[in-house]
């Protein structure tokens, strides 16, 4: 048999016309080329992506180890061993990042009470420390977006324009689901955008980064960290504060629906009783 050095192969390519190689030779040549191609592709792949084996070797930090214990107790039945997800129960958490955990677990949405259109906000099942630990574990499993350290709102004394810019961004990006007043709104088939009246700055930031439930992801390419902080400033400094003039009751901020209800329940009711009072009855 002929040896199959690259030099000879190259020579063969250039001298293909000289004569047809034998059948056995063609087959061996094809097999060798195939092996070489596979080895090359595999080599490049292993070189550039962190493989499953690589993960095993890294040590989880202490916080992540504690988080893993909590995860294995409370999350594993739906999100599976190593958080890779369970068919029809829960999605994989590889790459969702700690932002997602801080929002979902921190607001009590996870663990879910039952499978339904959308997880409801509940009393959180884990303390903030425990939430951080689970978040750290998920972060170390597969990376992903993280809520940055530092202040998540703008200082309005130094930067007073941030409020108006945040309002503008809020109306462009958020109102179509959460409504102008942040009162929330319905989506299709039982899904909904929750009200923003009691949500914290951290959770808003985490939600924008991770796109929980039916919310789209507003990554740093869509809204820069500065813009996110401005939106949070508008929500926390304007919508959540009692800076909204026009009476003691804002009727939930649901717009003309509750205003129409109020005119019948309050206005018409009082005036019908007044007319009963001043006029004859049957």
């Amino acid at each position: 048999m002929t040896s199959d050095t690259p030099a000879r192969r190259r020579a063969r390519v250039f001298s293909r016309r000289r004569g047809a190689p034998s059948r056995a030779r063609r087959r061996v040549g094809a097999a060798v080329r195939m092996l070489a191609a596979l080895a090359l592709a595999g080599g490049v792949y292993t070189a550039f992506t962190p493989g499953a084996f690589a993960e095993d070797n890294t040590q989880l930090s202490t916080a992540a180890q504690q988080g893993k214990q909590l995860f294995d107790n409370s999350c594993i039945s739906c999100h599976g061993r190593e958080a890779q997800g369970v068919q029809d129960r829960g999605p994989s958490l590889i790459g969702v990042g700690s932002a997602s955990v801080e929002f979902q677990v921190g607001t009590g949405r996870m663990p879910m009470a039952r499978q339904e259109a959308q997880a409801e906000e509940k009393t959180p099942q884990f303390t903030p420390d425990e939430t951080k630990q689970i978040a750290q574990y998920v972060q170390e499993l597969g990376g992903g977006p993280q809520v940055p350290a530092g202040s998540l709102t703008e200082n309005l004394k130094e930067n007073p324009e941030a409020l108006a810019r945040g309002g503008e961004l809020f109306r462009v990006n958020c109102t179509s689901c959460h409504s102008f007043t942040g009162a929330g709104g319905a989506l299709s088939s039982g899904k909904f955008a929750p009200a923003l009246h009691d949500v914290t700055a951290e959770h808003i930031y985490a939600a924008m980064l991770s796109g929980p439930q039916n919310m789209p992801v507003f990554g740093d390419n869509q809204l820069s960290p500065d813009e996110k902080r401005e939106i949070i400033t508008y929500i926390t400094q304007q919508l959540q504060q009692d800076k909204d003039p026009g009476g003691i009751f804002n009727l939930g901020g649901y717009g003309p629906a509750t205003e129409g209800l109020a005119i019948f329940l309050v206005g018409i009711t009082i005036l019908v009783f007044t007319s009963l009072w001043i006029a004859g009855k049957s």
Partner: protein
């Protein structure tokens, strides 16, 4: 010099005499002041509309002093920090200034808006009263038609006013209005382009709506309200049947002083309720909506409640687009144009339709109790149910969200409800009317139930009835004719017990003495035998 004593009575008389000498008004004024109005609480519902219209005019004039109906782009530098530096139209900017910088401006704006909602609500309630009591019958058909037109005008007045501040919510409403215009076959594009002065939204619409809102529509409203009241004055108000009341007379109170006092007081009450609501309840917080941008739409964007039925019909309409070769008829056309048209035309024609069906050409000045015309009540309840289902569907996203119902389920419930509930409402209201009528006739034929059970010698128990009229030789009551008015159904209405003490939380009058009939309460403590032989 002796000072002449001023006698107030004489001075007034002299003044009035002086006026009459010059203008000869005593005779017509006497007739006017002595004009008699029937007194019933349900006749005051229309007054709520009239009085809230007056509040609308007064508060509206105040608002025009500060509002700038221009779509010129300006940058905001006002008192509200969360919009500072934002580009907006001058209309929106002046609405914000009106709300935050003009003293009492926000209160006046809220009063204007609440008064508008109250105006429309009281029109609907008044209309229901007129309909269910048959007050629209000959000779009052034209006034009924004017009433429906007043609702329609109020509808447009409200919509144009809702659009004026040029905020995010009103722009969304305007966008829908433009789409409805575009859905009209053949003329749609032309109509929308001519109203908006080109492509939506253009730069003219606020100015045009402004003149419609502050001049054209209120002018026509004022004229039609005057005609409405003039016709009531000329044709005289209807009255309930009752003792001494006939189709030819009017029994009630004179215009002056009692009726005028009551009306004046009621105006104050309406004014007070509007002011109370304007002070307590926030309405239309335009500063949160931001300036209108076509790309910004909020969830829970709804029109005011009296337009909501149309929005509801649009939400419920299935996606049925009809194609004619290269042309198409959008589904929006059916609920928004045909639906709106039918909902205004059919009520207008109803007086004639009913008269034709009943072959009734007489004039009616006595009202009918709803129970006496079950068919009419059924039709009215059918229409009202349709309206309510459509209105609720106009807010179905808010209801779905706050009551945790699927929005899809709300839409389907609305679609099915719109078809199923009105016939059910018809059936049940007709049955209820017939039952109430039957009970009245039963009492007239047999008397009032006394609650006294008597045992007959054969062991049977019967309840003793108190006849309302004379009895025949056998002791049976002579059946009385039904007069279309309240039939007493309890013994205390017949004087067996003292009448109920009037007052809501505490008595407003001294309780009447208990009547001596049927028997004085014995003080000896022994109970007397109750018998029906008397």
């Amino acid at each position: 010099m002796k000072r002449r004593k001023l006698d107030p009575a004489e001075a007034t008389a002299n003044f009035a005499k002086g006026v009459d000498d010059r203008f000869q008004v005593a005779t017509p004024l006497r007739a006017l002041l002595n004009k008699v109005f029937p007194d019933h609480w349900s006749f005051l519902l229309g007054e709520i509309a009239l009085f809230s219209f007056i509040v609308l005019l007064l508060s509206g004039v105040f608002l025009t002093l500060f509002f700038d109906p221009s779509m010129k782009e300006v940058a905001y530098h006002g008192a509200y920090p969360a919009l500072r530096g934002t580009e907006m139209s001058a209309a929106y900017e002046s609405s914000l200034r009106l709300s935050f910088e003009v003293r009492g401006g926000l209160f006046m704006r809220q009063m204007h808006h609440w008064a508008a909602l109250l105006f429309m609500a009281s029109i609907v309630v008044h209309m229901a009263r007129v309909f269910f009591t048959g007050a629209f019958r000959k000779p009052r058909e034209i006034n009924w038609v004017i009433g429906v037109l007043l609702f329609l005008l109020g509808f447009f007045a409200g919509f144009t006013g809702y659009s004026l501040p040029d905020d995010g919510l009103s722009g969304t409403g305007l966008r829908i209005a433009s789409a409805i215009m575009l859905s009209l076959p053949v003329i749609g594009t032309w109509l929308s382009a001519s109203i908006f002065g080109g492509e939506y939204p253009g730069e003219l619409i606020i100015g045009r709506f402004y003149i419609a809102h502050v001049l054209l529509i209120p002018g026509i409203l004022l004229a039609l309200i005057s005609v409405h009241l003039g016709i009531v004055f000329k044709q005289k108000h209807t009255q309930w049947p009752g003792p001494l009341r006939t189709n030819e007379n009017v029994v009630g109170e004179r215009m002056f002083p009692r009726y005028a006092m009551k009306q004046g007081g009621f105006f104050m009450a309406v004014f007070g309720v509007i002011a109370l609501m304007a002070g307590l309840f926030q309405i239309n917080p335009i500063w949160l909506f931001g300036p209108y941008r076509a790309a910004e739409v909020s969830s829970a964007s709804q029109p005011d409640w009296y337009v909501m039925f149309m929005d509801g019909l649009v939400r419920l309409m299935p996606n049925w687009q009809i194609y004619f070769g290269p042309y198409s008829l959008p589904p929006l056309f059916w609920p928004a144009v045909v639906g709106l048209g039918a909902l205004f035309t059919l009520p207008m024609l109803y007086p004639w339709l009913e008269a034709r069906k009943l072959n009734d050409t007489r004039s009616h000045h006595l009202l009918e109790r709803p129970r006496d015309n079950p068919e009419r009540v059924g039709i009215g309840m059918m229409a009202l149910t349709f309206f309510v289902v459509a209105t609720i569907s106009g807010a179905n996203d808010v209801i779905a969200d706050k009551f945790h119902i699927s929005l899809n389920a709300m839409t389907w419930a609305g679609r099915i409800g719109l078809l199923i509930l009105p016939p059910l409402a018809y059936y049940f209201s007709v049955r209820i009317c017939l039952g109430l009528q039957q009970h009245d006739r039963e009492v007239l034929a047999h008397g009032v139930e006394t609650g006294i059970i008597r045992r007959l010698p054969n062991g049977a128990f019967i309840e003793v009835h108190q006849p309302l009229g004379p009895i025949d030789d056998h002791g049976h009551p002579v059946p009385l004719e039904y007069a279309g008015w309240v039939v007493p159904k309890k013994m205390n209405k017949l004087g067996a017990l003292a009448p109920t003490v009037k007052g809501f939380f505490f008595p407003v009058e001294k309780p009447a003495e208990a009547p001596v009939s049927p028997a004085p309460i014995s003080t000896s403590g022994t109970r007397e035998e109750i018998s029906s032989k008397s």
